[in-house]
């Protein structure tokens, strides 16, 4: 018990030092970066040897490797080329094909835990829409969604290129807020959007929003985009909005559920798909924008390499061990 509290205090002191005394952002020079990468590699080799000798390293060792592989790249300066995959490209194209003034419905169906993956997508999508003078209608099937939308919109609006266009709320974009009822909300919107959103996020009555005045249901919406982290989300939008009301839908998903969307993508029920942080990065690439997606790709790459390395090490050890066992049997 005592020991634990000593550890806690240690962490606290470290935090205070870093918080108050290290005020400048830290960055490693390329050489330092290379050295660190080299050291990590070396450590992995050592683990490999140990494992083959039949001594698995402990869980906590692996944990620390993951932490390093994620954190260290933050301070590195590494450039890497990003390829945009077809599903991302097609979403980008779908947005490009919209005439200026087209009405785009964006549904925010996620909460902060998934924000690291989806927030960059939201920002890029907004900036793309606003650059092309599209009208944005925001809603959310998750209570936290509209809030995330506000954050993303604020960030984009502050960018000089967008700010100069001085878009006005209610005319160029609205935030209808959250509505309970999951897929039932989508279904009702198919007949009458105002029946589900009597007021917007700020309590303004639906009818007094100029943008919404001649929007009755999905047939007045030109394109829909859905950022989803689970249920209700893209599946529900496809099932109700696309299959029942023939909406054009694009989607951004957390990587966890992205693979399940490919049948819909292939069937044309989805116009395009962004999967996870790298989907966001690719979208940023397509839209010619540097956001968190691109920034974090280095950490992402590193962590993947680490996981793969561990899988390989583990299996190599496994099979060598097998052989050794067999040989013993032979002798």
């Amino acid at each position: 018990m005592k020991k634990e509290f000593l550890v806690y205090i240690g962490i606290l002191i470290l935090a205070i030092i870093l918080y108050f005394f290290v005020t400048e952002p830290v960055t490693f020079s390329p050489t330092v970066s290379l050295i660190i990468i080299g050291l990590i590699g070396l450590a992995l080799v050592l683990i490999f040897v140990r494992t083959i000798m039949g001594k698995l390293v402990g869980r906590r060792t692996v944990f620390s490797f993951v932490a390093i592989s994620v954190v260290v790249p933050f301070f590195m300066t590494v450039e890497q080329p990003i390829q945009t995959s077809p599903e991302v490209q097609s979403l980008y194209q779908a947005v490009l094909d919209l005439k200026p003034g087209s009405k785009v419905l964006v549904s925010f169906d996620y909460d902060p835990p998934s924000a690291p993956e989806l927030q960059p997508m939201a920002e890029t999508f907004f900036s793309l829409c606003l650059e092309r003078d599209l009208r944005i209608i925001i809603m959310g099937l998750w209570p936290q969604g509209p809030q995330q939308a506000e954050m993303a919109l604020q960030k984009v609006m502050d960018e000089p290129a967008i700010a100069s266009k001085n878009y006005r709320y209610g005319i160029d974009y609205v935030n209808l807020g959250f509505q309970v009822g999951n897929e039932f909300v989508i279904q009702r919107m198919g007949d009458d959007i105002s029946s589900m959103f009597q007021t917007d996020y700020y309590g303004t009555p639906y009818d007094s929003l100029p943008l919404m005045r001649n929007i009755t249901n999905f047939s007045n919406i030109d394109f829909s985009f859905n950022l989803s982290a689970g249920y209700p989300g893209t599946v529900e939008w496809v099932q109700v909005a696309v299959d029942r009301y023939g909406v054009d839908l694009g989607a951004g998903n957390t990587a966890v559920q992205a693979p399940q969307m490919y049948p819909y993508l292939r069937a044309g029920q989805l116009k395009g798909l962004l999967g996870g942080l790298n989907g966001a990065a690719e979208f940023e690439k397509a839209a010619g924008r540097i956001g968190k997606g691109t920034k974090f790709m280095v950490s992402q790459s590193f962590s993947h390499v680490i996981v793969i390395a561990f899988i390989i090490i583990g299996n190599a050890a496994f099979f060598l061990g097998e052989r050794r066992r067999k040989e013993e049997v032979v002798e």
């Binding site: 906590r60 954190v71 998934s114 299959d243 049948p263 044309g268 974090f296 962590s303």
Partner: protein
């Protein structure tokens, strides 16, 4: 105010992370806070978004009296807290279950069965239905065959009322391979997702809180 917030956020983040070392008081404390706060969060959200804006406003301003039925059913739901009359909560529960069933029955049937089958039915040698023959590249032809065949084989694997023998068994084998590759993809994406979340947290710790990242 935000500075304090950052410290609290960091405290809780590290608290949860400390589970990686072992189950300890700091983790337990953070977890309990999480349990309480998230329950409270939903409590409030639904109070304002549903009970207030849907029921109260609906009744008092639009005069939709039919909403009272919903409210009564909702109260019945809460009756479960009182063991004596708890059984009444089955009524609203039945309503929920019925609504979900009816809705799913149609949706899953139309989008996940009808449409998926319809979309699997594609000419193998053409880019699309109605396109001229061999309009597709060799690659596309192979893909078409793989998708159609793979879907079929996958279904065969999940077919339970026939022994996996002979040609049927062979197809089932292919099916399980396809499904395994699919799982591999899911696996990869899950890892990706978790890593992204971790990156997000670390960004919070080292960027937002400690300000070490530019």
């Amino acid at each position: 105010m935000d500075a304090i917030g950052l410290w609290i956020g960091a405290f809780l983040t590290l608290g949860i992370m400390s589970f990686l070392y072992k189950d300890n008081p700091w983790y337990k404390l953070s977890e309990s806070i999480f349990v309480g706060v998230s329950a409270g969060y939903w409590f409030i959200t639904l109070f304002w978004d549903s009970i207030y804006s849907k029921f109260y406003i609906g009744v008092s301003q639009e005069g939709d009296n039919y909403l009272y039925v919903g409210a009564i059913l909702g109260l019945m739901m809460l009756m479960r807290l009182i063991p004596k009359v708890g059984w009444i909560s089955r009524w609203p529960l039945a309503f929920i279950v019925g609504a979900i069933s009816g809705f799913y029955l149609i949706n899953y049937f139309s989008s996940n069965i009808m449409r998926q089958v319809a979309n699997t039915v594609m000419p193998l040698f053409s880019t699309d239905y109605g396109q001229s023959l061999f309009s597709a590249s060799v690659g596309t032809i192979i893909d078409n065959i793989l998708v159609a065949g793979g879907t079929f084989a996958g279904l065969v694997y999940f077919f339970f009322s026939k022994e996996h023998k002979g040609a049927f068994g062979a197809t089932a084998k292919v099916g399980i391979w396809v499904i395994m590759v699919t799982f591999g993809a899911t696996f990869g994406y899950t890892v990706m997702s978790r890593m992204s979340l971790l990156i997000g947290r670390m960004d919070f710790i080292f960027g937002d809180w400690l300000g070490l990242i530019k």
